[in-house]
């Protein structure tokens, strides 16, 4: 009896639900056209959205930096902007397709981890523009925004090596992936340029959203004698900065000028023009001239730089040397390694 009643009830629920989803099924989703093909585009009608990685907004780094591009587009063109934050890797695809189903004009996947998801969703919605940050997807409606992080990390390595008093510097990475390894390779090369024998301590937290782990790893590095640590760890990196404050040591930030987080300890930050990259793609869409493909930003293109606040904590004579190195990268005299294999064959320039 009891079981039968449960079954009847469940069927009842199903029957109640079925009609609710019937009419919209006939809408044939996926054919969300009507947006494009207008020569004059009123941007306040447009809606741009971003899907964060697991660290989400408030990470003071990667996601926040990208979001700055959205807020700028909103201020300059009146574009509506929205964000969907991801808790788990398994949600990338549903998050992207939910937004696509809404008929957004641009959907930005923030981070290389979204590569597969963008690759899966973009072909299903050929009329919607996508952008992917830090990775490349070969689809006509996807703009891939990539950065030469190795160039910036190289400058950070040089700053760290010039500034250290103990002769030992550290590096705390988020997940052990190719993008973060690219930072590591550039950083090591920068250190090597100043002092080929200097020791670099390297640890990885295994996550971009674990500040406690970041702090623990940084404390360990400071306790082993490092006095400058470069963090490339997203939200995890806020823990690294915490550790620097606690030990009163130097730390280098990432993605944005993170000096405001600890004005006396954050001696520099590697600026990554995430917002600018998104802004460029957004502008293309507003002007109706979107093109898929790869967009690469390095020091030369103004997408990578050291933070303006660097001169506050780094003495002028070191700044001059850093600017020299920067110029040499722009001129192509130095090619900072992008992988640890390339690092092995890297010969530091004479300075």
């Amino acid at each position: 009896m009891k079981k039968n009643a449960m079954l009847v009830l469940f069927l009842l629920v199903v029957v109640m639900i079925m009609p609710a989803c019937q009419p919209s099924t006939t809408e044939a989703p996926g054919e969300v056209q009507e947006v494009e093909d207008e020569p004059v585009v009123d941007a306040s009608d447009m809606s741009f959205a971003m899907v964060t990685d697991q660290a989400g907004l408030g990470d003071q780094a990667f996601n926040d930096a990208t979001w700055e591009g959205f807020t700028a587009l909103n201020e300059d063109y009146g574009v509506q902007v929205k964000v969907v934050e991801t808790n788990e890797q398994a949600q990338y695809v549903p998050n992207l397709s939910t937004l696509a189903e809404q008929g957004e004009d641009l959907i930005v996947g923030v981070g290389f981890l979204l590569k597969d998801a963008v690759n899966e969703v973009a072909p299903l919605y050929p009329d919607i523009h996508f952008a992917l940050i830090d990775n490349f997807v070969d689809q006509p409606n996807v703009a891939s925004i990539q950065f030469a992080e190795n160039e910036g990390a190289y400058l950070m390595g040089a700053i760290a090596a010039y500034m250290t008093e103990t002769g030992k510097v550290g590096f705390v990475g988020g997940m052990e992936t190719d993008v973060v390894k690219k930072f590591e390779a550039g950083y090591r090369a920068g250190v090597m340029t100043v002092d080929p024998d200097m020791e670099v301590l390297v640890s990885y937290a295994g996550a971009f959203n674990d500040p406690a782990k970041g702090k623990e790893l940084a404390l360990a590095q400071y306790d082993q004698g490092a006095d400058v640590v470069f963090q490339v760890a997203g939200f995890t990196g806020t823990g690294v900065i915490d550790a620097a404050v606690e030990r009163d040591q130097m730390v280098i930030g990432v993605d944005r000028d993170q000096n405001y987080l600890a004005p006396d300890n954050v001696i520099s930050s590697m600026m990554k023009g995430l917002g600018a990259g998104v802004y460029d793609v957004g502008q293309m869409i507003i002007n109706g001239e979107f093109q898929g493909g790869s967009y690469r930003y390095g020091i030369k293109e103004g997408g990578i730089d050291y933070a303006p606040s660097t001169s506050k904590n780094v003495p002028a004579d070191i700044m001059t040397k850093i600017d020299q190195l920067k110029q040499m990268i722009v001129d192509g005299e130095i090619a900072p390694p992008a992988t640890l294999e390339e690092l092995e064959s890297f010969t530091p320039p004479e300075i």
Binding site: V84, A90, N95, G206
Partner: protein, 360 residues
Amino acid sequence: MENEKNRKTSPLLALISPTQFILGVLLAFIAGAVFLWVFGESPADAYGALFKGAFSSKRYFAETLLSTTPLIFGGLAVALGFRCGLFNMGVEGQIVLGGMAAAYVGYAWELPLLIHLPLALLAGAVAGGIWGAIPGYLKAKHRIHEVITTIMLNYIVFQVAAYMIAVGGPMKADNELPVSPDVLPTAQLARIWEGTRLSGGIFIALIFAVLVWVFLFKTRLGYKMRAVGLNSSAAEFAGIKPGRMMVWAMFLSGALGGLAGAVEVLGVHYKFYSTFSPGYGWDAIAVALLGLNHPVGVVASAFLFGVLRSGSITMQAIAQISKDIVLILSALIIFFTATNQTLRPILERLTLRLDTRRAK
């Protein structure tokens, strides 16, 4: 067991469980509405977005069923354990391990479809089953509490999973992402609804719900397990070996968890990555509780949780409610639905009163 006889006296009593289920859900949504209102969000907008995101288009509805699938398996896993008096908190780990094993068989072995797919599913089930049987054995032999051991074993799996696909890990694909290679087509569960990600996994889950029902209520082994769950000393006195039943129950429970992971990997992602389960194993505990540890109830509550999962994305995307509020709301609803046992005494008293009135 004597209760069964009393129950027959009134048809109203049969309605207690379904009523408890529905009231629990209603109360949960009311509590959620109060919470949203207190935090300055509009409950109508939020719930509107929730249901829109769960039902309003083919793809949304497919995503709802997609989240329902592993929750059915997970809920069955927890329910089966409960029926034998065991609390399997290790479903999340069993899901990850099952997914890992299925992915390995799926990409590393080359076999024809008819063998490959079942074998990959079996690998997931066996891996999860063994991982579940360990706490079962420790409980049966050494009286070590299964709640502790299952949780501890979870962490081992999580770390192993992260290592497997980290740079230099043994299952890492030859690209820049922390994932395994793609599962070969012969081991993939086919997509059954064009333009969506829905695979045949949902049917496998429903078949297993029926199988678990048959097993629990129509087989001798299932009867013995339930006897141990109701009173293990009495069961022992009746000639049942409680220890053996516990190991079996935990093996089967773990196998269901492993299958959840296998179906997820072979039917949704087609590759393994360490965090492919967004906490299905934890939700599964609430699914089983809300479903009153009955397969039919599990299917119904898994569906409700599927709605919550897929709708929570649109709450962010349409209603622009922040992720944290959405997470708190889901947690609140889960808490309220899972504690619907509090309603039972009230409902029973009510039925009794109605019954006596009718008798007069």
